[in-house]
Amino acid sequence: MRFETLIKAVWIAEKDLRQFFQFRQRFLTTLILPVLMLLVFSFRFQGLPLREAPVAVFSQGNSEIQLEVIEHLDESPALRITPMSNISQAQNMLSAGNLYGVVMISSDGVDCTITVVLDDSNPVLAQSVYGVVEQAVKDVNEKISRTPIRMKTNFLYGSGFNYVNFLVPGVLATTAMFGSAFQMLTLVWEKSLGTLERILVTPVRPRSIILGKTLAGCLTGFAQTILILLLGHLIFAAPLGSIHLVLFVIFLTSFTFTGLGVLVSGICGDPREATAYNQMINWPMVFLGGVFFPIEMMPAPLQYISRLLPLTYATDALRSIMIKQASFATNVIMDIVVLTLYAVTTLALGSKILLRVLAR
């Protein structure tokens, strides 16, 4: 290779690096993602997932072996044991997410059976709780020289430790988010390519442009998500729950992220800048929004951040509907309210900024 070729390659590389470092948002985005992955996944896989997980214990009788089991469970730092006497109340709390598991211990004096009731809408969490209880039972079994304790599991929704069922709603929410947000970026692209000017020179009101773009954003996000929904249902046999409600939440999610896209489009004048902002907002949400694993298993500070993110609510709503068969009247309403608030606020703010930009 000629020396001149190499030198010129270096000049070109220098030019690219200058551009890269000059564009701070892009630099930040490239850092944020790996840092988040490290943070989130290291906590997840270093055995720190469960700490003081609230578990109710329902014990019929007071045999020695029952007390032994309760003591072992109580000693585990992973669990926070609450003795309960009303089983249906415990199950309601479990279904509402206030408990992570219910341990029922029954003994006829000879045999002892432990039934772990788990919320299988959250199989990762359920599996972790099950693992801790299983370990406690194993320890007791090793200590005693009699018929070993039997273990049974009961799942609230009959889907078991099925991770795909847990994953599909999260992936649906993510698809709606990326689909809508990326579509909204076309506004910034159009600004930069000059095609927006073509529309602006017609007697169309800027409001129509924003509305049209929002509609397209919602619909593309919605359509893409429906395809994933079909895929999840037909190939991975993910449950659907109330299909009307699922479709409604998917549309609402698309709408929410379109609103966020409108806001980003208003703030950014340059497509590169908009893409960077978009990534900076959306990628962390994928990791913190409870898409791949429950937010309950994240460190407390990250959990607080999670609760601020719209994707958390979209994922939660879809999971409740699809796995827990939740209806509009149940806890989904809270998610829907938060998503709507997000959508309306971002859209109003974004439109206001965009209207000013378009009228320049």
Binding site: E197, R198, V201, P203
Partner: protein, 331 residues
């Protein structure tokens, strides 16, 4: 009847930079009016303000009787705008692009298809109308961009640097189309930095430089502004600073500039006929070769030079010896 375009102290500032400064002019209906000036003179900024794409910092304009600030929607309904760079949706077909524009311009459904067919025919896009615009040549894209500005039969057409980047044939074809449109009653406002384009198309021409309108008149009247000096063009084998300097020392010579592309020294001189022998004498004395000499009629370039002290081709100011000498340059 009110004029097609009327501006009132139209001004645009970008931060502290003055792009357009208190411009006042009128364009009559049915006229082809040209805005001539070098790149960066403020032509595009003016046209964008007139098309309601940019808000004037001060002053205002009326287009077809409507105020650009108060009634932008009504202004936009009356105008067609062709930007310097074609801005069609290149991933969509020509027909769809035209259909979209017609829809946004409220062209009634019944008329729409007929109008689109007619435009495809006139602009010679028939046969390719279903193809993606990205597969079109530059000339075709330009024609489509003009067609898109005409879907709603605008009264006033704004054309920004109409033929920039086009080959000679395509440029000729587009200029003919503009003349044809004008003969049908469309008022045309065009900006250009091409003298021949302004001379060929425009009835009246405004000359703009550094955001100011420095002259506005018919071509004939503007040429009179070039002054009483004659113009001599010396064709030389290569640029000779020495010859340029020698010529500029002659008392009757007003200015000397060099056209790099044509290797021509352009000399403005009073009573050129009597100055010529002196010029040859100087060239022979310094052994400088002159290929040919011709006496020229003044062009808009000369008018511009006379008015602004600069040539229209901003990339060639270094060859404008007249300016360099003024700044103390010694060849």
């Amino acid at each position: 009847m009110e004029p097609a375009i009327k501006t009132y102290d139209l001004t645009k500032l970008f931060g502290k930079v003055i792009a357009v400064q208190k411009i006042n002019f009128e364009v009559d209906r049915g006229e082809i009016f040209g805005f001539l000036g070098p790149n960066g003179a403020g032509k595009t900024t003016t046209i964008r303000m007139l098309c309601c794409l940019l808000r004037p910092t001060e002053g205002t304009a009326e287009i077809g009787g409507y105020n650009v600030l108060k009634e932008p929607q009504k202004v936009k309904a009356k105008i067609g705008y062709v930007p310097e760079l074609s801005n069609m949706y290149t991933d969509l077909s020509a027909t769809y692009n035209l259909k979209l524009m017609a829809r946004l311009h409220d062209v009634p459904r019944k008329v729409r298809k007929k109008k689109i067919d007619e435009l495809l025919e006139v602009f010679e896009l028939r046969g390719r109308e279903k193809d993606r615009v990205s597969t079109f040549s530059k000339g075709m894209q330009r024609r489509l961009t003009i067609a898109a500005a005409l879907v709603h039969n605008p009264e006033i057409l704004f054309l920004d640097e109409l033929t920039t980047g086009l080959d000679v044939q395509s440029a000729r074809k587009i200029r003919d189309l503009v003349k044809q449109l004008n003969s049908q009653g469309v008022t045309v406002f065009l900006t250009t930095h091409r003298i021949e384009e302004a001379e060929e198309l425009c009835g009246r021409i405004g000359i703009i430089d550094f955001g100011k309108l420095v002259a506005l008149d018919t071509l004939q009247n503007l040429k009179k502004l070039a002054g009483e000096s004659d113009i001599l063009e010396f064709v030389v084998p290569e640029h000779s600073s020495l010859l340029a300097h020698c010529l500029s020392q002659i008392s009757s010579v007003r200015s000397v500039s060099f056209d790099q592309s044509n290797k021509v020294l352009r000399v403005h001189a009073l009573d050129a006929d009597s100055a010529l022998p002196k010029m040859f004498e100087l060239a022979i004395k310094r052994s400088i070769r002159i290929v040919s000499v011709r006496k020229m009629e003044p062009t808009l370039e000369d008018v511009f030079l006379r008015l602004t002290g600069r040539t229209l081709r901003e990339e060639e100011p270094a060859h404008n010896l007249h300016l360099l000498v003024q700044r103390g340059y010694k060849p």
